[in-house]
Structures are given as structure tokens and as C-alpha cells.
Amino acid sequence: MRIKKSIAISESGFMFNPITGESFTVNPIGFEIIQMINDGLESAQIIETICKKYQIDPQTFDKDLTDFTGMLDNHHLSQHHDQEEA
């Protein structure tokens, strides 16, 4: 998956969808994950990177990552590589 190209993301974690006019905020770790997604990292790589940096086990973070990417999808901010941008 990747974040849609039309979504504006600031370094402070503020996101804006110009298509719908909706604004979002993410916390610092959420911002890190979005950057990793945009850099093309797969889930396994994201899990490895975060678990090296933070006090968290891979199983718990895997669950949180799935939840987070699910919410990105739910808010129509992400798309899968084979999808056209809406």
C-alpha cells in the first residue's frame, strides 16, 4: 500500500485531503509509519524497524499496525499499488 499522492502531509503530522476537504492529525509514531509506507517498506520491515527503536514486541505492534493501516484505508487516505487513485 501507499499514501495517495493527492494527500498533503506536513512534518508535524497534519494531513489534508484536498478531494474531500478533510483534515487529519497523526501522532509521531504514526507519522514515522506513513513515511515508511511512502518509502515503500513492507509490513515486516516496518515492524522490524519500530520494534528495534521502541519498547514494543512484534506481535503487539503487528496488531497496532494493522489497526492503523486499516484506519488510513477507512479514511480513504491510502491505496494499494494495483489501485487507481480516486
Binding site: T25, G30, M71
Partner: protein, 452 residues
């Protein structure tokens, strides 16, 4: 390199179309300690969930209430409401401060006696007093508050049988201008039932009428209702003096004062809106002092306030079990505190704070307990910082009713700890064990064996 503290990732939509007059930021700060004792150490030592009571807050609340009344009225007596919290250590804090006992059952009566309260300083309320209960109360010279005519007749009969004159008051209900009107306790003022009961007592001469009592409601958000009630009881007392030349020694205003909790559905927080002890004291004492009592016959003012004294001294500590999402995408956090322990979660939006540091990020969360029941909801919607599995939370102002109305369901009830004035924690009620439940059970012989 030391790893950084983890916070789970969140994304939150900014809803600008629904402005919040209180601002975006919640005022939550972590509650890392209670009276100087770290929350984590309490959970490590005594387990989770855990009820914690601050002796310091119990005493300061009592002294605050007492001061509010004694600075305004010359004769004041508090009576600790056992039903609000009858753990003996809690009761004894109030007895040490000078409170009598106010009980509503034979069980509570025996508990008060067991705590060392003299029978003559026990007020016996409640609609269900058995003949044995009444005999016990007569034997200990307690103050019996008569709830209905059946009780009055039983008491008269017992007085004859034992050739004694029990000390009694009648419970009076009335319209104080609030809704709902509590008219199930005692005799009604407006329709003449109260006078009917007084006439029966004073003409019979079998009982010694010493007081008048009312219990006008619970969590009363209007202090003025007490002024109305005090005025009506004063009128009855003066009427008794005129008609029978009989002096009513005390007027008991019951309980019902609020704590700092916020009632469900309230728009503003209870800390900002609920009346203070001074508000109640001003209303009640002004009404009594302005009544036509001469100084000689000014009755003692008895107060049975329970919740307002104990609620804010009680906390329950818990632990996060899991985070989930509802079908609609809402955050659900499951903790190990169920509604079976927190009966008052059906009444209040309890304040909940994490017990560890957190960032400014919050999520609208439904806080569920661990029971296998859909009604197990501690907070339907609360803006909480991001909690991880194993994190601890502190629920505030749970000292009233939870430790008397809690249910043993699915699992065993937790320990209760009191932190003394010097910051030392003491277990005041042990955590239950399997024998607490199985010890009461009996298995008939034919059900003793089975093969699977």
C-alpha cells in the same frame, strides 16, 4: 541504546464543524500516585483491580462538612451511613471523628455494634425491620426511625411485651419542589399521614418520640430542597410542642448530598456544578433557625450524609487488557474493572485517568470491563490518551456504594486498601478466594459424583 517508550500509532480526523466550547485539549494528567504511594507499587503488591481509600480524604471531607454545619448551627450530630460503605475500617474513621452510626438493616446494626458503637448512638432506618431486628434495637436503646404503620404497630406491641418505651422518630416524606419526589420512605407530610402517625404515637404513650427524620432524595443538585424539607419538619416539631407539650429533640435531614461525580447526561462537570457542604448547610440551618423554635427547644440537627464524605476518597485501580475497534471504527479499550465492581458506572461518568505518563494525543474511547456481558461499559465515550496493554488506569470518586453493592460475578472481588495519614497502605478487606464462594455452598449426596 535504550529503546524509546512506545505509543501506538493513531490517526484522528479533525472535526471543525462541531466546535467544543471546552476546547480541544482534555485536562487529563496522569495519576501516578495516591497520597504519595505510587499506583504501580499498589498494583504490584495487592493486584489489579484494586480499591484504594484515602484516610486523609475521609477525614478532611468529614471535617469540612462538620465545619460547614457547626459554624452555622449550635447542635449538630453526624451519623455515618453504613450502606454507603460499611467496611469496618472506613466506618471507624468516621466513628473516631465523632459520627454515630446510621443503619438500615439488622445486619448493619450488628456490624455497628461489632465496631464498638453503643446502641444508643445507632439510628435504625429502613423499611424492612424484622421483629428480631426491632427487639435488638429496643434492647440496645437505639433510635428507631419508623417507616410505616405496620412497623409502628409491631413496635407498640413489642414495647408492651417488654414493658419498655423505645426511642423513636418518624420518617417523613414530602414535596420539596424537586422531581422525582421521594414518597416511599415514611409518612407523607402534605396528605396528613405524618400527623396521623404522630398522633398515634403520642396518644398511645407506649413510645418515646424523640425525633423527626426525612430522606428527600439522592445526589440532590438543589440545596434549596433541603431548606423546604427542614422548614416542614420544623413546622411538625413546633406543632407537636403546641399540641402535646412534647419536645422533639432532633431533626434528622438524612443524606443525599452530592459528591464531585458527574451524573450521566449532565452537560457540565460535577466539580463545577454540584452544591458544596456550605450550600447545604446554609439552606438547612437557615430554615431551622428561622423557624419558631425558642432557644431552649432548638432541636439537634442530625445528618446522615454518606456519599459526599466517602465518594471522593475512593479510587479503583485497573489494568488494560486489550484495545479493539468497534464495527463502526470506534476505539474500544478493555480493562479488568467490570460494572460488577463499579455499580456507580450506571449513574456517573466517572473520571478516568491513566496511571503513567502520556502524550497529548487522545482517542474517543469506549471503556469496557472484562465481563461476558454487553452492559459491561464503564464509560460509553471518553477522550482518553493512548493506552497500551498492561497500562494502568485510575477511576476516581468510587468510594460510595461500590463496596456495598458490588457483585461477585464470574470472578472474585478484589482487595480494598486504605492509605493512612502517613502514607502507609493497609489491607482493610482481603481479596476473595475460591472458598469465599464455595464455602457457602452445599452439595446434596446424590449430586456428589458424576462420570464424564
Amino acid at each position: 541504546m535504550e529503546k524509546l517508550r512506545y505509543e501506538r500509532p493513531i490517526i484522528r480526523r479533525l472535526d471543525s464543524e462541531m466546535p467544543n466550547k471546552f476546547g480541544m485539549r482534555t485536562d487529563y494528567r496522569p495519576t501516578t500516585q495516591i497520597d504519595g504511594v505510587p499506583v504501580k507499587s499498589l498494583i504490584d503488591k495487592f493486584g489489579s483491580p484494586l480499591f484504594v481509600i484515602s484516610e486523609k480524604v475521609l477525614r478532611s471531607q468529614y471535617r469540612k462538612a462538620r465545619k460547614a454545619f457547626t459554624t452555622r448551627y449550635p447542635k449538630v450530630q453526624f451519623a455515618w451511613s453504613y450502606k454507603t460503605n460499611y467496611i469496618s475500617a472506613v466506618c471507624n474513621v468516621f466513628h473516631q471523628e465523632g459520627s454515630w452510626a446510621e443503619v438500615v438493616s439488622g445486619f448493619e446494626f450488628q456490624k455497628a455494634l461489632g465496631n464498638g458503637v453503643k446502641g444508643s448512638k445507632i439510628i435504625f432506618n429502613g423499611p424492612d425491620k424484622s421483629e428480631e431486628d426491632l427487639e435488638m434495637a429496643i434492647q440496645h436503646n437505639a433510635l428507631i426511625h419508623i417507616d410505616h404503620l405496620e412497623e409502628l404497630y409491631t413496635l407498640t406491641e413489642l414495647a408492651e411485651r417488654h414493658n419498655t418505651k423505645p426511642r423513636v422518630a418518624i420518617r417523613v416524606n414530602m414535596d420539596t419542589g424537586v422531581y422525582p419526589m421521594w414518597d416511599r420512605f415514611g409518612f407523607n407530610y402534605e396528605n396528613g399521614q405524618a400527623w396521623d402517625a404522630l398522633n398515634k404515637i403520642l396518644h398511645s404513650g407506649r413510645l418515646e418520640l424523640v425525633g423527626l427524620h426525612c430522606h428527600i432524595g439522592t445526589f440532590m443538585l438543589s440545596a434549596q430542597a433541603y431548606a423546604v424539607a427542614a422548614g416542614k419538619l420544623a413546622e411538625l416539631a413546633i406543632g407537636v410542642q403546641r399540641k402535646f407539650n412534647h419536645t422533639i429533640k432532633y431533626i434528622d435531614m438524612g443524606g443525599g448530598f452530592t459528591s464531585r461525580n458527574t451524573l450521566k447526561g449532565a452537560y457540565l462537570p460535577g466539580t463545577d456544578t454540584n452544591p458544596s457542604f456550605d450550600d447545604y448547610a446554609e439552606a438547612i440551618t437557615t430554615a431551622l433557625l428561622n423557624a419558631d423554635f425558642s432557644s431552649e427547644f432548638l432541636p439537634t440537627l442530625v445528618l446522615e450524609t454518606g456519599r459526599a464524605l466517602v465518594d471522593d476518597a475512593g479510587y479503583i485501580l485497573g489494568t488494560v487488557i486489550s484495545n479493539k475497534r468497534s464495527s463502526k471504527g470506534k476505539r474500544i479499550t478493555i480493562v479488568d474493572i467490570g460494572v460488577n465492581l463499579m455499580f456507580t458506572s450506571f449513574w456517573y461518568d466517572h473520571k478516568v485517568t491513566p496511571a503513567q505518563e502520556f502524550t497529548q494525543y487522545t482517542e474517543d474511547t469506549t471503556l469496557n470491563g472484562p465481563l461476558c456481558m454487553n452492559i459491561d461499559v464503564l464509560r460509553e465515550s471518553v477522550s482518553l490518551p493512548l493506552l497500551n496493554k498492561g497500562d494502568n488506569i485510575v477511576v476516581h470518586s468510587v468510594g460510595a456504594y461500590n463496596m456495598t453493592q458490588w457483585m461477585q460475578f464470574i470472578t472474585l472481588r478484589p482487595a480494598v486498601v486504605m492509605i493512612d495519614n502517613d502514607g502507609n497502605p493497609h489491607i482493610i478487606r482481603e481479596k476473595e478466594n475460591l472458598n469465599s464462594v464455595n464455602g457457602q455452598e452445599r452439595i446434596p449426596n446424590h449430586l456428589d459424583h458424576f462420570e464424564l
